[in-house]
Subunit: 461 residues, 3 copies
């Protein structure tokens, strides 16, 4: 199993080297910006970045740590890993994202200047890593996840630089940079790490009653705070407000539509919790780029209707097909929640940008599309579309390369036997657990009770 004997050496060693690297690079590069340096005057006006950005930052922060973490707790015996690895990987990623994004966007006189917006952007980049985590959930070791995060944050920042600085597209809610890139990146990684030994549906890769309720906590916080996500770095004022409104209505329509479709595809008309947990959010992903444009409220409802439909059908038909024909295992179905909706978001943004005119935006058209200042008359829609395609390509190519790196035998890959199981990585309280699953529709297989042979969990243990 490679040169390192076991997890006890691998995980601390890799994590410590990464953290040490962060401290050194922060020491060399990271300083406070003008709105957080003690020697600078306080900005106590209605223009203060803190006033417009801090509440949104906190909402995004809840989404990243609580939302993504709990959304993935639906697996019956992988809740500690879902929440815990999400916590570990996100905590590392936001440090590395501060540096990578800083070098690309906030580098002045050899220093990276950080402020509230840096925190939001770092959280955004981290979200992209957590999306990819959703594809391989249950089948990777924490060491592999940290390595993946290191490379993905790097590629994210390159892709973001290409879109925002070279193509000069706008993508405040990150449909393209976060979701499309992160989603396809994760799918590509999962393709390379394909485990034929884990046939779908794997008995442990399913939920139990309470794990589905825990997952709903994640879903609801993502859903509730997504208007903040899509507006957090929009231009202060009317654009930020409009991004909130559009996301709010998109989500409402997407949720109703998800229930419609979920009921339609079930032979008894029941709703599937997988759809409710995930497809209800697809609209917000897809409106990320266009939310700050003049999408109109009814346009938002239509986006929700389309995405709720696509995402639910994706869970029903595309995810099984991806595994069967392309050998892409996708535990959380990120294809239907992030990859596809993210790409759709690029298209929707391109269409809305292409339709932008002075008739709608008045003399403030350049205010929403600043690239017009330098390039008057450019094809806004064309460049936006290019951004979506680049993100998709960067995700697929980058994910494939990083997947190959993750196959190196030094990262302590999880065995098939330990997949979807907390006990390989966590001290799990002893309890009787009964796994029940269906082999065929009407035949139940009840396995023997298992008592884990581990120490009890106690605070002083």
């Amino acid at each position: 199993m490679g040169s390192f004997p076991n997890l006890r050496i691998r995980l601390p060693l890799v994590a410590f080297l990464l953290e040490l690297l962060m401290i050194i690079l922060f020491g060399v590069f990271v300083r406070y910006d003008d709105e957080s340096d003690a020697s600078k005057p306080d900005d106590l006006t209605g223009k203060s970045t803190f006033l417009y950005r801090y509440p949104s930052f906190q909402d995004v922060h809840v989404m990243v740590f609580m939302g993504f973490g709990f959304l993935m707790t639906f697996l019956q015996r992988y809740g500690f890993s879902a929440v815990g690895f999400n916590f570990l990987v996100a905590s590392f990623s936001l440090q590395w994202a501060t540096l990578m994004q800083g070098w690309f966007h906030h580098f002045q006189d050899g220093k990276i200047l950080v402020g509230v917006e840096s925190l939001i952007n770092a959280d955004f980049c981290t979200a992209s890593v957590l999306i990819a985590f959703g594809a391989v959930l249950g089948r990777t070791s924490p060491v592999q996840l940290l390595i993946m995060a290191f490379f993905q944050v790097t590629l994210f920042s390159v892709n973001e630089y290409i879109l925002l600085n070279l193509l000069e597209v706008i993508d405040a809610g990150g449909s393209m940079t976060i979701h499309c890139f992160g989603g396809f990146f994760g799918l590509a990684v999962s393709r390379v790490l394909y485990r034929p030994g884990l046939k779908e549906p794997h008995r442990k890769a399913s939920s139990v009653y309470h794990s589905d309720l825990f997952a709903m906590i994640g879903t609801l916080f993502l859903w509730i705070y997504w208007p903040s996500f899509n507006s957090a770095i929009s231009e202060k004022g009317v654009n930020q407000t409009r991004a909130v409104i559009n996301t709010y209505y998109t989500l409402a329509s997407c949720t109703v539509t998800t229930c419609i479709l979920s009921s339609l595809v079930d032979k008894s008309g029941r709703i599937n919790m997988v759809h409710l947990q995930n497809s209800t959010l697809a609209g917000a992903v897809a409106v990320g780029t266009a939310a700050e444009m003049m999408l109109t409220p009814y346009g938002s409802l239509i986006v929700g209707l389309i995405l709720g439909t696509l995402s639910t059908l994706g869970y029903t038909f595309i995810t099984p097909a991806l595994e069967k024909y392309l050998h892409v295992q996708d535990t959380c179905g990120i294809h239907n929640l992030h990859a596809l909706p993210g790409f759709c978001g690029g298209i929707i943004g391109a269409i809305t940008a292409a339709a932008a005119s002075e008739a709608t935006y008045g003399s403030r058209l350049h205010h929403t599309f600043p690239s017009l200042d330098k390039h008057p008359g450019r094809s806004l829609g064309g460049f936006q579309m290019a951004g979506a395609v680049v993100s998709l390509g960067m995700g697929l190519v980058g994910g494939t390369i990083v997947g190959i790196i993750l196959k190196f035998p030094i990262w302590g890959a999880t065995t098939d036997e330990d997949c979807y199981e907390d006990r390989a990585y966590w001290e799990v309280p002893e309890e009787e657990v009964t796994y029940i699953h269906t082999v065929t529709r009407n035949e139940h297989v009840k396995e023997e009770n298992t008592v884990y042979e581990m120490e009890p969990q106690s605070p002083a243990d």
Copy 2:
């Protein structure tokens, strides 16, 4: 069972028609207001609506989707429905509320102009529907809930118009418009839909250990964010701040009082989770109208003391009596959390308004009670009291009519057997579930284990 064969057709059809209606009406009527339209200048001053309202909106949004949803998960096998139907019904209601409230309050040149305050108001109206849902929790199909929401939002808006525009009362926290109306509406609906086959206490209509903890998540988010609820649309500045302070202290006192009373009414002095989950919130409901008035901090503590007492006693004595004598089944006890406290809130508001004078409010009396501008010397208390009575009447009459509509056999009513059970409407993971309940105080009946004959829940299913 009516003209439609089953849920698979009824739910998608009704929901799709409603969503389609929303899209068409949004297309015709809904536009951005001046603080969200791209062609309008940014307001980056301390008067920006976004700065005062957006953080409050997000808190209210958490209450509506997370708070109400999880508060109702206390039932042992109805958690998916509690959270899921709450999600579906709220997502539809906020769209319809945008239109109804828009026509009554924000209609200019044939268009409804939406901004951050529209979102708050739509969430408020939605809360009223979710309150009514609490009365019939476990005994209605999702189709019935959507139909109820459609009519209740309509009547809510009419009632709100009568109070705010005709009677010119103030009710920033919605004691009367949201809680009193919504509570009595739900009780009236439940009266019409009375199911004699479900005797109280129904074996499934009780909690298990973890479902009570899930419900506490809902309770706490409601409790924590209620100061934002009661202040979200108060006049910016001192009134908004005072509404926060009054609600904060009312809730603290109400929580202590609830524990006192709960312990008093138990023969062993133990506290009942039902009281802790619900009665702790009754003070905030009852201070909704008066929170922005000069209630004084110690007045707030007294309101909490009274309401914590009334609500706990309500759960102990009134709810069983309502079922026994009036055939009103009330799953969540909304009578004691919303209906009665909401009406009390109207009375408290009337008393506080009647006591308002220039001695306390100075020259800014009209600032808190704008109706004095047009009607100097009017009886503030009398009109406030009229508002409470109208809300109660509208709730009872409206709920009765809508209850009759819901009895039409076309909405796919739940069978008695399927009440308080997720499996009729949700794909539920297979698990062994053991129902235990007490027939008499000291006799336990343990039923056989039940293995649900359903497919496993898996993300790609």
Copy 3:
């Protein structure tokens, strides 16, 4: 068991007398401040306290009621008490804190004037009580907790007055006043209330799978909102923003380090949920004092690295030793999350203050350290260090005295048998519960199933 017959009289009587006292004292003393009094003009500028403080207040409020409450639900059968007593004790404490802090800091013309900052400070003081609760979790009656809260809030306010007004130190995030004081106070109380009958590890003092997930909800909300905690009462502007940034990076580094250490100290390299739930937060405690200083982002990462290490090792080595050698039982390990990190925070603050110079702070040095106005050239570091020592001493001495008061036989102490059990204080739903624990590493003892002989929990019960 003393002069009162049982809980049914003791709890309501004590709680009612305390609440009555609050109402009387509020009536005599508490009034609205200039930013919440209806007769005062609205401040709608970028300087409005509401704009800078209210979103932070709500985050702190979530931490106090949701964060602390759920963090303590990790015990398998003490979740109702964890959340419920947290709720009750906090609701009382914030009222008493308003009075005590008001008399010391906001007393004008015989009145205490309250505003948004009063609510934040009351929540801060309450947090200190909840920290102490963590030490004795499972071994105290609610009456004892209320009495403890009464005295601890009093002593907290005295200690706070000594630090802020006499020593003139700064401590915006409360490392010293909240965590160091509260932590050592709780440990001292626990020492006095030592129960030799409850040997560690007690079978019930451990977690089960889902209780660990509930606890993670508490952890994550504390973690996510801690930047608001440490900045909530910092000077508006650059200092508040910097406090956010420093806390954000400290927490990220602390979380990575906790996973490193937790894996290192386990023989199989697995991570322990106790560490993840608690030690990940230790960095934020320790940066409370220094967060608003020019700690630098990389200094923040180093603080996280040190505290993640110390706290994890504390759980592994110090907590068992405290019980064994000093007879200090510490259910939640608050020594490693609050007491020690709080004292470290005092030291870190002292070092950072000692290093403060015009080279770093420019002409605005006095802006961050206002005591320099009155005492130019004073030893900032020395006074800060004195603050930490005073807090530690006040905590130990105060906790010992209050512990002795709590031993009076009139407060209805919990029996050893009922420790770590909800059923003595709560109406618990009947369920089969199987306790499993390990007597030695490889020997499992499975006890008989227990059916609780209590009434079922139903909403109308």
